[in-house]
Subunit: 401 residues, 2 copies
């Protein structure tokens, strides 16, 4: 398996483009298009938020048909809480793209991210579609990746390739994250492309597997957005034998897809709003994986833990307090806690000043693990979390201004 | 019912004192004592956090005996995650106080707040007990209220009186809050005193009622501490007929107690770490009160909602997003939302620019309600929350430094 410097257009037969349509006030790219030269199976996962944005409602419906050809994505406006009009707007734009590409309307998807509750500037977007289609190219991935960003600082794209039965199969991807980043479809948009020959049910299974171990394991601020979407388009141009369940080829493909998702998720964390640190919260010794996950989530979403991380304060007491309120019937006297591999709590009690001094250095690093053993069983889970900084407050206090 | 400028020593027969024992490094008051001239029924509620501090473990045990005479409280050290030693330390101090007051050890309680995981400086505290007992006075409430503070800016004390069957009955109280403030015993210490004649079970019932409607309805940062405690001592010196369940006298007493708790809870919110705003999140139209509470909690603990409040940004989309991820099967198209009484969302969709302009002014106020109607039933709940400011991050990034 090899990583490339590529992205969404790295697999064969994918084109992309990005431009400034005027949705954002500042002259930044705000409209992206991803197109496969031929339609193919598509897999998708959407936000668990009950207040789902219009493009999510539309996307869920399109996914019933199972074929994907193109995705139009805008930033600067989430098209959420926009009622029936929001859905009609997304439908109208999807029809426009389908017409321009001479594609079946049911194979065109839309994604939106930005402010909630404002009508989408449909005319402005529609007017930009011809230019967007004209600009489609094999090297347009970087502009597309930039056009979907909101408060992200960097575009996030990656591609991995591997040989499957003598054919080079590639999975590429791009994502935006930054705020509202929390497990259960980590509040973000991610678009994945592959040239693998694979049937839709298997593609969906591989995507679920990859997302559960990547985007669903990161937390920036505990908020789940109305717009979370992961789509994966497969056009079959690699020419491999169709992948079969339980085959070696499928497991290689699954690893490729998981690697792309993992790398994008990590970059979302590192580029989270105001983030200065990424911490891997590893919980083991729980009765079940679910129980471990609850404890990891309680730690990963605690404002007190996150501000202490920002302050580079080894205040492990806040981690203990978060464990205690996770709603799991733990026995505090069985808890062991280590920061960056250095034990600081045994049987629920602190290990004193020498351990504290060693940890004081560890917490100054930009990434380190926090390991918790609950001493109850063999369930384990991990969540990547970030610190909570002045910058996070600044970004989010003035997001719309 | 009349409010007084008093506090914990306003009811007959209560004395208090506060001094600097050297637990905090800066020369601030850090040790308080509350004493009733005679023992009487005591009611108590403690943190739901499974990692309970030593004074909480001890307090739960003492409460089985049901009589209260005195409470020793220190700030600067939480005596949490301190293992068996922490409990032995609290026991030793309780014995010292009991001896100095010639009281039964089982009637003396201890409270602690501050950094987790450091051993209590027992000798330093023990040495200060004679001076603390000597300083006890009817006017010592203010010093006691100051001695229990950590990052709080102001001491919080209040008293209310009413006539019950021709006797003046008073309930007084003091509290500390500031950080780790979240429902389910709102991460704080509160001590209440009354001269009412009341049996222990009824006192416990009245306290539970009052706490559920006050301390359990506030949220500063979503974290529940290891040390939360509410204790209420009753010495019976008001001379009223013993209060009976379902009597008018009891309902007056209940109102007194509820008023004291409500006022202390409000002051904890207003004095929360870095707080510039207090917002009353009111959810109605849920299937059940529990469901309403889940939605209110999701809004009240959302970092994105709280930073928008700080930025005085009427970003109601973040409130909608929080509602959607509360884990309640709401129908978004039935949601109505008003900010400071001004409708901004109907049937799940925004009402547009004129409403937004009116709300832009409302969110600049220091307190206002946010009202959500889920359109599912008659269940209702409310939670007071606060904004999330630079100051909160600053306080919590450098708490131990």
């Amino acid at each position: 398996m090899s990583a490339s410097s590529g992205g969404i257009t790295s697999p064969k037969g994918f084109l992309a483009s990005g431009l400034h349509a005027g949705i954002k006030q500042r002259p930044l790219l705000d409209l992206a298009l991803i197109v496969s030269v031929k339609p193919g199976p598509i897999a998708g996962l959407f936000t668990m938020n009950r207040v789902a944005a219009a493009p999510v409602v539309l996307g869920r419906r399109q996914l019933l048909h199972g074929l994907g050809r193109a995705v139009l994505i805008n930033s600067g406006n989430a098209n959420a809480c926009t009622g029936a009009r929001g859905i009609a707007d997304a439908e109208a734009l999807v029809r426009r793209v389908a017409r321009a590409l001479q594609a079946d309307t049911r194979t065109v998807y839309m994604g939106s991210t930005g402010v909630i509750g404002r009508p989408l500037p449909v005319e402005r977007i529609a007017r930009s579609i011809p230019a967007l289609v004209n600009a489609l190219s094999r090297s347009g991935g970087a502009r597309a990746a930039r056009a979907i960003l909101t408060t992200d600082k960097k575009e996030k794209e990656i591609a991995f390739s591997a040989h499957i039965g003598g054919h080079v199969v590639t999975v590429g991807g791009m994502a935006k994250g930054s705020g509202m980043i929390h497990p259960r479809m980590a509040t973000m948009l991610a678009y994945l492309s592959t040239d693998a020959v694979i049937a839709r049910p298997l593609l969906q299974q591989a995507l679920r597997h990859a997302v559960d171990r990547s985007f669903n394991c990161i937390s920036v601020d505990g908020d789940t957005s109305t717009n979370d979407t992961v789509l994966c388009l497969a056009n079959g141009l690699a020419g491999n034998q169709p992948l079969r369940k339980d085959s070696r080829g499928f497991s290689v493909f699954q690893r490729l897809l998981a690697s792309v998702c993992h790398e994008l998720a990590q970059r979302i964390c590192r580029d989270g709003e105001g983030v200065t640190k990424v911490v891997d919260v590893r919980v083991k010794g729980a009765r079940t994986a679910q129980e471990a996950r609850r404890v990891a989530d309680a730690i990963a979403t605690s404002s007190l833990v996150k501000t202490a991380l920002f302050g580079e304060d080894a205040n492990w007491g806040r981690i203990m307090a978060a464990i205690g309120r996770a709603g799991v019937p733990i026995d505090p006297t069985r808890i062991a806690l280590a920061i960056d591999g250095i034990p600081i709590v045994k049987r629920g009690a602190g290990l004193g000043a020498p351990a504290e001094r060693r940890i004081a250095q560890a917490v100054c690093r930009s990434a380190f693990p926090v390991t918790i053993d609950l001493g109850r069983g063999t369930g384990a889970a991990n969540v990547w979390t970030t610190d909570l900084s002045y910058e996070y407050v600044k970004i989010n206090a003035s997001y719309r201004s």
